[in-house]
């Protein structure tokens, strides 16, 4: 009995020592809210936005806040940030906090939060265009260990601001849907017409490009309509922002490519369309697909061939025996 208890304790101690574990004594954890701000503002006007920064670590953090401009984004709406980038209109931004200023360190105790009061004042003479910035809050370290060998880490959390400076509430937007085609499934393309199997799910990709000077939002639907003009499938488009002169992947509301699973009843011509509506313009892209029972027909053909072969073989066999 004593031996069993001893072995059990020994095993527990061994597990506790040998099992790898994460260090939690000194971690980094920050939260910023809101993570995205979309602003329409007229020249000569000002707005103030409060950002809440939370220190989720179990130790006090020294941080520094800064505004970084960007002009490009990838196809998924992620800004291409260059920490060294600058722009003349950065002077529109300031922090209204009495203690906290841009590029100056400030502290947040462990488990506490701090508010950054961001002020945007657009002068009367500001050019009418979009400006894009990221408010970043980074860890700050001003001590150097001369014997340190390795990588020191700087953690940054950022909130994007998409700002439209315009005298109109809804400035003109120019969106164009591109590359709308089946990306997965049994499909044959002849000219502008697609032929697809009527029981195989199809996936579709598409991008939208914003050729205008102002950001726009991708609100809309992916619609499948039968030859009798009867809607057979409807799916929402994930609402995202496309900054000026950029391209964006269009996704469904689950963040995936659009998918249509035809049934046996979906035979014949169908029209698939992507429709985007903005506050002052619409854009649509359509493709035509003829669904037919390709796999089913092949299956029947193979079955028929097998049956014919069996019939031929069985009809020849008695002849040989005679």
């Amino acid at each position: 009995m004593t031996k069993k208890i001893f072995i059990t304790i020994l095993c527990l101690v061994a597990f506790a020592i040998l099992l790898p574990k994460h260090i939690s004594a000194a971690n980094y954890g920050m939260s910023i809210s809101p993570p995205l701000l979309r602003v329409h503002i007229k020249p000569g006007k000002s707005i103030t936005q409060v950002y809440k920064i939370e220190n989720l670590s179990n130790n006090d953090k020294t941080l520094v806040a800064a505004i970084v401009p960007f002009t490009e984004s990838d196809n998924f709406g992620n800004p291409v940030l260059n920490p060294k980038a600058t722009a003349p209109w950065l002077s529109y931004f300031s922090l209204a906090n009495s203690e906290i200023k841009f590029n100056k360190p400030f502290s947040i105790p462990a488990g506490s939060s701090e508010q950054l009061i961001l002020s945007l004042s657009v002068p009367e003479t500001a050019p009418l265009k979009d400006i894009y910035v990221t408010l970043i809050v980074s860890t700050y370290e001003n001590s150097i260990d001369q014997t340190f060998q390795g990588s020191a880490l700087r953690a940054t959390i950022g909130s994007n601001l998409l700002i439209t400076i315009s005298s109109q509430a809804y400035p003109d937007t120019i969106l164009r849907i591109e590359g709308f085609y089946p990306s997965k499934g049994t499909v044959i393309k002849i000219g502008n017409l697609y032929f697809a199997d009527s029981i195989t799910p199809l996936k579709f990709t598409a991008t939208v490009s914003n050729e205008g000077s102002f950001a726009a939002e991708t609100k809309g639907v992916f619609r499948v309509v039968s030859g009798k003009n009867k809607p057979v499938y409807l799916e929402g488009i994930l609402p995202t922002n496309i900054i000026a002169k950029s391209r964006r992947q269009l996704l469904n509301t689950n963040g995936n490519n659009f998918e249509f699973s035809p049934s046996l009843g979906n035979i014949g011509p169908h029209q698939l369309s992507l429709e985007i509506k903005t506050d002052n313009s619409n854009t649509t892209s359509t493709i035509n697909i003829i669904f037919f029972p390709l796999k089913l027909s092949l299956g029947l053909l193979v079955s028929l061939l097998i049956i014919i072969s069996i019939v031929k073989i069985t009809s020849k066999t008695p002849g040989k025996s005679t």
Binding site: P34, Q149, A155, Y233, G236, T240
Partner: protein, 476 residues
């Protein structure tokens, strides 16, 4: 006055006066001369006062989609014209047969379901039902001691018996739901099993348009005894269906219905007999109140160190890291040293997030020559800051690089083991590289970032260091 005295002196008149006075006093002292008394403190408490839903599918709802539009105008028995009475998680019958669960309420006339609508369930004017199945608990005090009798509870029903018992919400009363049952958790007297009869059924024809629930008991009964009877159960498995909005109902007001409780003597025919005691009460149903709350959007980013000896990215780590440093320490020549950190990101931003990485420069020591440990180009001299390749051999492949591995909740990561690459360098004007991302809302997505370092004999002794910046931002 003289005339009155003369009348009072008449013996017959005096006898008549006394007799009348006795009758009056007697009637005041024994009021039970009346045929039926009122049961008191009577009420029908519903487990939920929520009404049912009876609406219709409207175009452009289509089969194969989860998006449902409803009619906002009433027609015949389809009186539910707003999603106000629905909430996510409700189970609906759409099209008459199939059940669907509400995923979200979009607005007054649109909602989504967790599964796509089947063919035949999305046609214009197809029915939509939500069945509210509250348990009824009827409580009251007895007025008389009726030995070995029974109570009968009458719940209002539609005037057409088939309509009142077809398992579909009605707009003029409670539907019997074909399998409703009188409860067994009755208290107050000693009861036998209750009997439930749909309106129009045997023994349940008078009064008309009521479902009947009988509760027979034994014993002498009592006066002022608290009685509690139930119809159905709290699980909703044998319950009557609460009414849908009445045709005359005004939005956000309750529909009230009259219920009755009767106490009969043993062996009475409740259809014809007069109850010893009875009472009439009111019960009301109204739409549920959908509670909503606003959650502020935010993004959360965490970095945690990983102990030496841990498993990460198919490696066993050699050094203990913190959230702020990866201290490789003293290096042996032509030998890998591995380290790791854990990154965690959560955001409720609909477009998701991205984490990028960039280094200020290569691992450097300005006092040495060459003054840096090179960024890795991997085994085949093919990897760079945005192109990964295998890196399994330390000898002749000195350098500093990293890879990623998913830990939890499936973020998109790059590069992935066994491929490595090096960090883009700010000193070389390279762009930050996306190491971790997600296209939609993300909850505690975790990934290991694993570092590997190898030096060869040509590397001068000294301390080398650089700074890596991880930036987490929400996508737009």
């Amino acid at each position: 006055m003289t005339y009155l005295i003369q009348i009072m002196k008449n013996r017959h008149v005096l006898q008549c006066f006394f007799a009348s006075t006795l009758v009056l006093i007697s009637s005041l002292l024994y009021p039970s001369f009346s045929l039926a008394a009122n049961l008191t403190v009577a009420k029908d408490t519903l487990q939920s006062s929520r009404m049912s839903f009876s609406g219709r599918v409207k175009s452009p709802t289509v089969a194969g989609s989860t998006h449902v539009w409803i009619y906002t105008t009433a027609a015949t028995v389809f009186t539910s014209v707003s999603t106000a009475g629905l909430k996510p998680g409700d189970s609906l019958v759409i099209g008459g047969t199939n059940s669907y669960t509400i995923a979200s309420i979009i607005d007054d006339d649109e909602f989504t379901t967790t599964t796509v609508l089947a063919a035949g369930d999305a046609d214009d004017t197809d029915v939509i039902y939500f069945k509210s199945l509250p348990q009824h608990v009827i409580t009251f005090k007895t007025a008389s001691a009726v030995p070995a009798g029974f109570f009968r509870v009458l719940i209002p029903a539609d005037s057409t018996p088939t309509t009142a018992n077809n398992g579909i919400p009605d707009i003029t009363g409670f539907d019997f739901n074909t399998t409703a049952a009188a409860g067994t958790d009755t208290t107050g007297y000693t009861f036998s099993a209750g009997v439930a009869t749909a309106s129009g059924g045997t023994g349940c024809t008078s009064p008309a348009n009521y479902h009947c629930f009988e509760y027979h008991y034994i014993g002498a009964g009592g006066i002022g005894t608290d009685i509690s009877l139930s119809v159905g159960n709290t699980a909703g498995s044998a319950n009557i269906i609460a009414p849908a909005p009445s045709a005359t109902r005004v939005a956000n007001t309750a529909d009230a219905y009259t219920f009755k409780i009767q106490n009969f003597t043993d062996a009475s025919d409740p259809n014809t007999a007069t109850p010893t005691d009875d009472v009439t009460g009111k019960v009301a149903v109204i739409e549920s109140v959908r509670v909503t709350a606003t959650v502020d959007p935010s993004i959360t980013f965490k970095i945690e160190g990983v102990n030496s000896g841990a498993s990460a990215c198919s490696l066993t780590t050699d050094v203990t890291t913190t959230n702020a440093s990866v201290p490789f320490g003293v290096m042996a020549l032509d030998t890998f040293k591995a380290a790791a950190q854990l990154l965690t990101v959560s955001t409720n931003a609909v477009s998701g997030y991205v984490v990028t990485a960039i280094e200020n420069s290569q691992l450097s020591n300005l006092a040495a020559s060459p003054s840096y440990i090179p960024d890795t180009t991997c085994d085949n001299n093919l990897c760079d800051f945005d192109t990964p390749d295998t890196w399994a051999t330390a000898a002749n492949n000195a350098g500093f690089g990293y890879t990623m591995a998913v830990v939890a909740n499936a973020p998109t990561i790059a590069p992935t083991t066994p491929n490595y690459q090096h960090f883009p360098s700010l000193a070389d004007a390279e762009s930050p590289f996306q190491i971790m991302s997600n296209a939609t809302i993300a909850s505690s997505q975790q990934a290991h970032v694993c570092y590997k370092l190898s030096v060869d004999a040509t590397q001068p002794a000294g301390n080398y260091e650089n700074q890596i910046t991880y930036t987490a931002t929400a996508s737009f």
